[in-house]
Amino acid sequence: MRLREVAEALDRLSPEHQQVLHLVAVEGLSYQEAAEALAIPIGTLISRLSRARARLRTLDGDESGAGRPIPLRIVEN
């Protein structure tokens, strides 16, 4: 269940963010290798990683309901 939610959240990331996450977090490339493979500066790579993770956390929270408003409950006296 958890993996499906993460997969759905990943699906909603931009291709650029999926690429950096996949090359670094899954493939285990060093920052230098991933930056060279994508032809971007290391600073840009790290910036993308940071923003991709921030976005993923938000989406993951939405999927799990953490980001949804809590419905009000009517309490009778």
């Binding site: 993460v6 990943l10 699906d11 931009s14 090359l23 977090a25 285990g28 940071s50 993770r53 921030a54």
Partner: protein, 255 residues
Amino acid sequence: MKAVTITECDLQAYVDDQLDVAGRLEVADYLVRNPEVAARVLADLSLRDSMRAIAHDSAPAASPAAVEKAQRIDAALDRKRTVGRLGRAAELAAALAVVVAVGGTAQFVDFTPRATAAVPGLVQEALMSQQTAELRADMPSQPETRDFDARAVRRATRIDMPELPADWRVLDAQLFPSDYGPSVQMVIDTGGAAPVSLFAARSEGEFPEEPQTQVIDGQAVGYWSHDGTVYALTGDQMPESIAEHAEDLASSQDS
């Protein structure tokens, strides 16, 4: 213990296991003293492990196109292993296939030229405004305006222009009428081979928040949206360069 400044970069490197032992200890010590940051890092580690599990469980057979891309990456990385050519390429090919499979529409940076009809109308407006700016630059009767008052523009148009890097220089700034209402165009010297044009207009349409870069009629355009405004960056620069600039400008609007 001597106080050590831990940056966002250090935290990312910690999650990605890119630090040496001393670096990991410094970050770990910082996390112990900052439980809120530690919770965020733990969430990132959990997501990383989930991604690895997904990749492990669903790696499909690599397509020839994925293998070719993987081989290009391998060449870029200048790996010269005799066995690695097949081994590493196959690993990366499978990985790329997973990106495609898991990500649905995910693909490697695709600067393939697109049919004009598939391009959002507002992006075409941006391209036209850039061509107009080029014409204006060659006409003495159309002087460029280098004074750009972001607050005045915001009051008049409700358009917030992103903060430019300190070393960029505004060459021209104009308000344009467009099908989407008043729009802003800035011509900017980024220090690159040619100036870039940044176009912005209010829009209620569906545009990605993350910058997307396409090549349209031989011209790279990076576009994204933020808070009801759509931005398009274009210019006679390499698509990779336009994509990077667009990413940096969009990043400046996150805070």
